[in-house]
Amino acid sequence: MEDGTRSQAEREDLVGMRLAFWTWMALVVVGLAYMIALPLSGR
């Protein structure tokens, strides 16, 4: 029971940490791609 509860909590931790990392990584990568592509299009 206790092991089950702990692994559930660990899984939630993993999801939260991955979400935090990939949200910021995606924001930076998409932002940089946008900021490089836009002036290259001459706008």
Binding site: E12, D13, V15, G16, M17, L19, A20, T23, W24, L27, V28, G31, L32, Y34, M35, I36, L38, P39, L40, G42, R43
Partner: protein
């Protein structure tokens, strides 16, 4: 759900602050740009036109590059340079990348250490420097974005004054590019210097960026 929000509160709070401020910046920048356009007898832009213009991009990129440079240099400098008494610094004598036993790499890795910290060769070297590599790459790319958007904006301005356009190389040697660049760099270096030095003697109870309130002034980061 409530626990998940609490456990990611720091990154979520700054995500919300970032989104609110970049939207606010877009409206303030739109108003400023439209004032300048009116002075030159041009039609005003709407919000979508502004956020898809190099005017907006150059203002965002010049700040991004300096932030990533700040982190890049701070991470790099704190490998080799120390400030006695600062929680931002390794203790004097602990300069350098550190032995495997301290870094928990290779044979010294924990059972749940990241896989590439346990691996040898290029994978461990790459993972050992991954934070620095990411910050350095983001700095170079955002500085490139600043230069690409900057030359478009500078050439719009030059066209208004009947001057010939600059190519990219001419622009990266221009006072406009370096003024935008250096005004951001100086403030980042000021912020790092102030934080490193102030944290020797000043405290913020409860903050991971501060020594414990009762820690002696002479204690550096890992000694606190």
């Amino acid at each position: 759900m409530r626990r998940a929000l609490r456990d990611s509160g720091l990154s979520l709070a700054f995500l919300v602050l970032f989104l609110v401020t970049i939207v606010a910046q877009s409206f303030a920048g739109l108003a400023e740009t439209n004032e300048e356009l009116a002075e030159h007898g041009h039609a005003a832009l709407d919000w979508v036109q502004y956020v898809t213009s190099s005017d907006f991009v150059v203002d965002v990129a010049e700040n991004w590059q300096s932030e990533f440079l700040q982190f890049f240099l701070f991470i790099l400098a704190t490998i080799w340079l120390v400030q006695k008494g600062s929680p931002e610094s390794n203790p004097p004598g602990d300069e350098g990348p550190g032995p495997d036993s301290e870094q928990r790499t290779g044979a010294y890795a924990y059972a749940d250490s990241p896989r590439w910290s346990r691996a040898g060769g290029w994978r461990q070297r790459l993972y050992s420097n991954s934070l620095l590599i990411a910050m350095g790459a983001f700095f170079l790319l955002s500085w490139l974005a600043q230069s690409l958007a900057g030359v478009v904006v500078a050439n719009e301005d030059r066209a208004d004054h009947g001057e010939a356009p600059l190519d990219w190389l001419q622009y990266v040697g221009s006072p406009d590019f370096w003024s935008r660049t250096l005004q951001n760099w100086q403030s980042e270096f000021l912020a790092i210097g102030v934080m490193v030095a102030f944290a020797i003697y000043l405290r913020q109870r409860g903050s991971s960026q501060s020594k414990p309130v009762g820690a002696p002034h002479y204690r550096s980061g890992e000694e606190s």
